[in-house]
């Protein structure tokens, strides 16, 4: 077993070598941040939640199993952290502020294609924001954080095939939704 694998590192953390968490933090903190940002659309909150995930990892390190999978376990923890936060804050007010895109837009003001694409992107993001929490979470995991279908299936306790069906339906829903916006 490679001693630098996530799993080996987490077993060391479990045994009390907590400094090994530094390396796991380097590998995962940006992904968790991205996941939380996708879920909350708020950078400061996302940073708080990343902190919470690592605090939980330390607190519950004894529950990490010998045959565990760190990515599954840690993302499961990230999901729980987000659920707790969501329960407390109910629904997020997604900001209409699309400054980065507007800036990009102004740079490419004369490029029709780019402009069209930006519009599409804008609509897609709005459509994403309108998805239910559950659906957005699934897209976030498989598309943005590139967690394998099999692992997401393990997290959600369903078959891999069921995950694929869900993703397919969500994509359709999204597409229909943003195409409507364009009209």
């Amino acid at each position: 077993m490679n001693l630098l694998e996530d799993h080996s590192l987490m077993l060391k953390v479990k045994e009390g070598e907590v400094e090994k968490l530094n390396l796991l933090y380097k590998r995962y903190s940006r992904r968790f941040f991205g996941f939380f940002y996708g879920m909350t659309n708020d950078g400061a909150t996302s940073e708080d939640l990343v902190q919470n995930v690592f605090m939980r990892i330390l607190k519950y390190k004894h529950t990490y199993k010998e045959n565990g999978d760190f990515e599954v376990w840690a993302f499961q923890m990230a999901r729980n952290v987000h659920h707790d936060h969501y329960r407390k804050n109910k629904r997020y007010a997604f900001q209409e502020d699309m400054n980065p895109y507007e800036e990009r837009l102004s740079e490419n003001i004369n490029q029709e294609v780019e402009m069209e694409k930006s519009d599409e992107l804008n609509y897609l993001q709005k459509a994403l924001a309108n998805l239910s929490e559950e659906k957005r979470e699934l897209i976030e995991l498989v598309r943005f954080q590139k967690v394998k279908y099999a692992k997401v299936a393990e997290m959600l306790g369903v078959t891999e095939s069921a995950i694929k069906v869900r993703v397919h339906r969500i994509l359709k829903e999204l597409r229909e939704s943003y195409i409507k916006m364009d009209v």
Partner: protein
């Protein structure tokens, strides 16, 4: 490979995830060629899927890393503090809950009962203590023969500490009282004999000692002891000694002792 619409959707997702075999890809392609409607749907969705790539996400700030480092440092520090002293932990547990306290008490009682000596053990203990007693006696009898007065005083004091002295020890003390050259040793043995004053032999020996002693200090001390133990039979011996002694102080002491013994 039999391909259905559902299977085609799954394979298509595998393809997007870069997780499709050559055979599967070929089968999917063939299926889509004969199903143009499904092919269009999947192509459209692929475009949506690709569009996600364009979505930009901000980067976390540097303060996130600093906070993580701070959290780790605080955690390590806290671990050091709570690394417990086992005894503290036990006491804390016991005081935290009365059930635990009660359980500890019950366990203590059980251990106490379990360790309580049995009848056999009691006999063993009795035998052991009698052996120690005889060793002490032997030691005392050896010490009392030593040339150094200090050693003999130790022997005499040792006899005083014995719970029950046997005849040999008492005889050794009486002999020391009457014949030891050193007055301090003789005084020490008088003191030790006082402990066994209930024994008739000891009382007789004390009365007889009046005839054997010459030192006024010893005579006065013996007279005090005889008064203390109310040995009235010593009055005759005291009367005789009074007539024979020339020491005024001794005479006066004997008069007082005789008076006390007669009047009490």
């Amino acid at each position: 490979m039999k391909i259905t619409n559902k299977k085609a959707e799954e394979l298509w997702q595998d393809k997007l995830a870069g997780n499709i075999s050559e055979n599967e890809e070929k089968a999917l392609k063939e299926f889509l060629l004969s199903n143009p409607e499904k092919a269009k749907e999947l192509k459209d969705l692929e475009q949506t899927w690709d569009l996600f790539e364009e979505i930009e996400r901000p980067e976390p700030s540097d303060s996130m890393n600093a906070r993580f480092e701070g959290m780790m440092a605080a955690y390590v520090e806290k671990q050091k503090e709570v690394r417990p002293n086992v005894l503290d932990w036990i006491v804390a547990q016991m005081t935290k809950s009365w059930q635990v306290g009660l359980a500890s008490l019950a366990m203590g009682l059980f251990i106490g009962w379990w360790m309580l000596p049995s009848q056999d053990q009691k006999q063993d203990i009795a035998q052991l203590s009698s052996e120690i007693q005889s060793m002490k006696e032997m030691m005392m009898l050896t010490l009392i023969e030593q040339p150094k007065a200090q050693e003999r005083i130790r022997a005499v004091n040792m006899a005083a500490e014995m719970p029950k002295a046997d005849e040999k020890v008492i005889n050794a003390l009486i002999s020391t009282l009457n014949h030891d050259d050193n007055i301090n040793v003789r005084l020490a043995s008088l003191e030790s004999l006082l402990r066994y004053a209930d024994e008739p032999d000891v009382r007789h020996a004390l009365v007889d000692a009046l005839k054997m002693q010459e030192s006024p200090l010893m005579l006065v001390a013996i007279a005090d002891v005889l008064v203390a133990i109310q040995e009235k039979s010593s009055v005759d011996a005291m009367e005789k000694l009074k007539e024979n002694t020339e020491d005024e102080f001794v005479k006066e002491k004997l008069n007082e002792s005789i008076e006390t013994l007669k009047n009490t």
